[in-house]
């Protein structure tokens, strides 16, 4: 019998169990807890990027026709920054944090110690398939965990590149990649993890959390929503327009969780805004945006059809004021702007996640807050362009979203001192910078007491005097304590 090429083994529940067992053994052996190991892994990740930048860019072009600059900056550049920051700050993050103790527990010292959760699962998305896979992994490594990464199957070139590179560069006994689709993800979700970090959509997030609930596994869910942009009339229109374009079409052609989803502006200003968009869009992408190399394509025909459905809905296509062109063969849709779509249209109901930008008009700009609330759900991000201090203050106080930016879009992603995460339907938990380290750590409270200073009032038999002393002690008031001790 001749040798046959082995079919790639199916990854099922048994395989999942085995994998978790192996990783748990590595974790228990203490491998991932060592500072040196963490440094070696993060350095290896940097090396991996340096030596394979071209392949990564190529895979992203394969999966998404992502422009080289977007790949280089938003995927690779941002990940490099994450690694560098972790390498620089990790020692500091790992240090126990001193906690204050009060008179009530005197004498004592207290601290909060960070420890890894154990074996964690990272499930990532298809739109920034490289960054969203490895950025959480950086946090998990820094915190000292063993990791399984499940990249999205909708970005297959990147998924298989990740599997290869991680096997080549990182410690395979502690960090593994599982490729696949629903069956493999299901097999993974049946296992007991110490944390699950999921980036994606609300529908699958519910499945992830329900699976986690069976094992009481805590989760971080990085989802999305309809990120609004409120545009006032007293601004530098050119700068604002460019920043909105950069955040919308400059980010994977609108397929990003924090892309501006729709705009709200006043009736009086809308036309000016549309003209400004037309002007700047042409500068950025030329007269034939379908041929511009600087725009990603739509990831696959499913999403392509989904987006066309939003455009072709009855009464919606007449609202297009710019764009609308499509190229089905190459899965491209041109930057499209719609004006005054009805609020109950499909395009205003679900997260667009594509190159369509509806503009909603209000009489007075203050009315935009009600529009946002009426759409329901809290988005991942919200943006406001204005110079009015009062409006800024109202915006920050009243609009609930994962993160807010005034006078720009999406850049808060790069600010690692800010937690990046959602609220309500846009998710729970956060990461970036130290928040990544914290997301994958357990903060263990430690109280040190000594044998001295033991007072009998803690112990029965209980007497009135002890009760009064206890009351005084709990109040923390020195005067009360003295009085109780003196029995007065």
């Amino acid at each position: 019998m001749g040798s046959q090429p082995e079919d790639k083994a199916v990854f099922d529940t048994e395989s999942g169990k085995e994998m978790v067992k192996e990783l748990r053994a590595s974790f228990v052996a203490g491998k991932t807890k060592s500072y040196e190991w963490k440094v070696s892994q993060l350095k290896a990740m940097l090396k991996m990027m340096e030596e394979n930048e071209a392949q990564i860019i190529f895979a992203l072009r394969d999966d998404l026709s992502k422009p080289e600059l977007e790949s280089s900056i938003y995927e690779i550049g941002m990940l490099k920054n994450s690694c560098r920051l972790a390498l620089k700050e990790m020692k500091h993050w790992m240090k126990p944090e001193k906690a204050k103790t009060s008179l009530t527990t005197f004498p004592s010292t207290a601290e909060i110690v960070s420890e890894p959760l154990g074996v964690v699962l990272v499930i990532s998305a298809w739109n920034y398939p490289f960054l969203l896979s490895l950025d959480p992994v950086v946090g998990a490594i820094a915190a000292g965990n063993a990791i399984v990464l499940k990249p999205s199957e909708l970005a297959p070139a990147t998924s298989s590149l990740l599997a290869k590179l991680i096997a080549d560069y990182l410690d395979g006994s502690c960090i593994k990649v599982v490729e696949g689709a629903v069956p493999e993800t299901t097999a993974l979700l049946e296992q007991k993890w110490d944390k699950i970090f999921y980036t994606g959509n609300g529908r699958v997030a519910r499945i992830v959390m329900a699976a986690a609930a069976k094992h009481l596994t805590p989760v971080v869910l990085e989802l999305g929503g309809k990120s609004p942009v409120i545009v006032d009339s007293d601004i530098d229109l050119k700068v604002a327009t460019r920043r909105i374009i950069a955040g919308k079409w400059g980010c994977n052609n609108g397929q990003a969780c924090i892309s501006p989803d729709y705009i709200i502006t006043t009736k009086d200003y809308a036309v000016k805004l549309v003209d400004s968009f037309k002007c700047e869009l042409e500068k950025f992408y030329g007269k034939n945006p379908l041929e511009s190399k600087d725009l990603s394509r739509i990831v696959n025909s499913n999403h392509f059809d989904r987006l066309l459905k939003l455009l072709d809905e009855d009464k919606i296509s007449s609202k297009i004021v710019h764009g609308g062109e499509r190229d089905e063969t190459n899965l491209k849709i041109a930057p499209t702007i719609l004006l005054d779509v009805p609020k109950n249209s499909l395009i205003m109901k679900e997260e667009i996640f594509g190159p369509l930008l509806p503009i909603i008009m209000v009489d007075k700009l203050e009315g935009s807050f009600d529009v946002i609330k009426s759409l329901g759900g809290k988005p991942l991000a919200a943006y406001l362009f204005t110079n009015k201090t009062k409006l800024k203050a109202k915006f920050v106080a009243e609009v609930s979203a994962g993160g807010l930016v005034v006078n720009d879009t999406t850049v808060h992603l790069a600010e690692h001192n800010l937690p990046f995460g959602g609220v309500g339907d846009s998710g729970m938990g956060s990461y970036h910078g130290k928040f990544s380290f914290d997301a994958f750590s357990h903060k263990k409270a430690v109280l040190y007491r000594s044998f001295g200073g033991d007072s009998s009032l803690r112990y029965p038999p209980y007497t009135r005097g002890k009760l009064r002393l206890l009351q005084a002690l709990l109040s923390g008031s020195v005067l009360r304590i003295i009085r109780a001790l003196l029995g007065c």
């Binding site: 422009p67 600059l69 280089s72 900056i73 550049g77 941002m78 920054n81 906690a99 009060s102 009530t104 527990t105 207290a110 909060i112 959760l117 519910r206 992830v208 959390m209 329900a210 609930a213 009481l216 700068v239 604002a240 992408y285 511009s292 600087d294 920050v396 609930s400 979203a401 993160g403 807010l404 930016v405 005034v406 006078n407 720009d408 808060h412 600010e415 001192n417 800010l418 937690p419 990046f420 609220v423 339907d425 357990h442 903060k443 263990k444 409270a445 430690v446 109280l447 040190y448 000594s450 044998f451 033991d454 803690r458 112990y459 029965p460 038999p461 002890k466 206890l470 709990l474 109040s475």
Partner: protein
């Protein structure tokens, strides 16, 4: 029930709870509630659990007062946005993290500390500016009806509500969409809560339990330290609700040769604290109900377990009292060594060498607390780095609960999320990131059409390589 949540949502929308002065008013009213009804609270706790006044004050009334007072004094600080530093590249920009309430929250409290486990999370929820529905456990009925009656008398009824009822009410509540669920109870119900929350993507905090071990090393050889150790173990086992507490000591680990010393001194303090006559036990709670009583009695039914009892063991079914009981080395595969005891039975497990306790603890799910009575610095370090638990307390029991600067919560099977002090405020808040930018200066390289120059520029910018950027702009760097 839908009406209740609709009203709470409407109240939240109206902005009432966002006002800091409203929150302070509610916290002060809660203090009044507790101060003016102390006797009723003591009576209710006595009725439900046979708790003595001192225990009720220490674990329930006092805790709530302390929490409310602390929150009142810190609230202004907590609601203030936290400034973040912004790198030069973003100049001029301002970054801050703003805490905001999550909205309408649901608090499930359990029966063993029916007042503090309902009101302590409530304090956090109010401080953070939410509207709240509390569902206290029906297994502590006197306290439940106390809360149902008095809370509307003192607190803003449109924003803070209490609902009675049993598991069926709990199930129906879980079908609705909340902005946060805070649950204290068993892992089994914790799973149900989280599964229900998943349908609405509702974040949860689960305060569960586990088998909290107490490690005792040769500090026992020192008589005065042995005394303190024994008192603290006895106080940490039978003191809180006769062992029916998530942070009660579940079992003790000690070296073989010190076991009898330990047992003798534990017996001494049990007798001194509680008496040694089952019919006349003082200063100790009783078992909450017949179910729990039967469950505990069943743990002793196994003949190998029964034969390991070295002190106590008698039960009074009518009064639902089980006397403080010590067991020496019950079989490790018995139920009593595999599920959370939650009662007045204390197994003592002996080891050849106390360092083995680390492996022993690691063979079980992560507990809420690990207690260790030792002065050996190296051993303390090993315990901290080689075991995992919600928290660790050295040389004492229970008191970490009073420390507002320490987060109180579990890990693994003992739960996730945390509260107490500022952590209570945080657990009911969303920390919103806010970045303020200016229109100028404008960085042209941000925008397409892309060129190599722009690529180089952004690469340098991302590396915060300001010098390189300068060189590039001056034309000294090739793009």
């Amino acid at each position: 029930m839908e009406e209740t949540i609709a009203e709470l949502r409407e109240t939240f929308r109206s902005g009432t709870t966002k006002s800091v002065s409203w929150r302070k008013k509610q916290l002060k009213a809660l203090l009044d509630l507790v101060n003016e009804n102390e006797d009723s609270i003591f009576n209710a706790l006595d009725q439900d659990l046979g708790k003595s006044r001192v225990e009720s004050y220490r674990d329930e009334v006092g805790v709530v007062k302390k929490s409310a007072t602390y929150s009142l004094s810190c609230l202004d600080k907590w609601v203030a946005p936290k400034k973040g530093e912004v790198p030069l590249l973003f100049f001029p920009a301002k970054a801050e993290v703003m805490p905001e309430p999550l909205g309408v929250v649901l608090i499930f409290s359990s029966w063993n500390f029916p007042i503090s486990l309902a009101l302590d999370p409530l304090i956090g929820a109010i401080s953070a500016g939410n509207t709240v529905l509390i569902k206290p456990s029906e297994l502590a009925p006197a306290c439940l009806s106390f809360l149902v009656q008095t809370i509307p008398q003192y607190l803003d009824n449109k924003a803070i509500k209490v609902i009675g009822g049993g598991a069926d009410v709990g199930e129906r509540l879980l079908e609705l969409k909340w902005d946060k669920i805070f649950f204290t109870g068993s892992p089994r119900v914790g799973r149900l809560v989280m599964t229900a929350a998943a349908k609405h993507l509702t974040p949860v905090t689960l305060e569960l339990g586990g088998k909290c071990p107490a490690i005792v090393d040769n500090t026992l050889s020192n008589p005065s330290k042995a005394k303190v150790t024994a008192k603290r173990i006895v106080g940490g086992k039978w003191g809180p609700c006769t062992g029916q507490a998530c942070i009660a000591i579940d079992y003790v680990l000690v070296e073989e040769k010190l076991a009898s010393t330990l047992i003798d001194i534990l017996k001494k303090y049990i007798k001194r604290f509680y008496g040694d006559n089952l019919k006349e036990l003082k200063s100790i709670s009783r078992i909450v109900n017949k179910n729990q009583f039967q469950r505990l009695v069943n743990l002793l039914k196994d003949p190998h377990v029964a034969s390991s009892v070295v002190y106590g063991g008698s039960v009074d079914e009518e009064k639902l009292v089980i006397e403080p009981t010590i067991l020496l080395d019950p079989p490790l595969d018995s139920e009593i060594m595999n599920e959370e005891i939650f009662g007045p039975l204390l197994p003592i497990i002996t080891l050849k060498n106390i360092e083995e306790s680390i492996e022993f603890i690691n063979s079980k799910p992560k507990p809420l607390v690990i207690y260790a009575f030792t002065e050996d610095k190296a051993f303390k370090k090993r315990i901290l780095s080689e075991t995992s638990s919600g928290s660790v307390t050295f040389n004492d029991s229970m008191v970490q609960f009073l420390c507002d600067s320490l987060p109180f919560g579990g890990v693994g099977q003992s739960g996730f999320g945390r509260y107490h002090g500022k952590y209570s405020f945080d657990t009911f808040s969303h920390e919103k990131a806010v970045l303020h930018r200016a229109f100028y200066p404008e960085l042209e390289p941000r925008y397409p059409p892309w060129t190599n120059f722009k690529l180089m520029f952004i690469k340098l910018a991302y590396g915060f390589n300001y010098f390189g950027l300068m060189l590039l702009m001056l034309g000294f760097k090739k793009s």
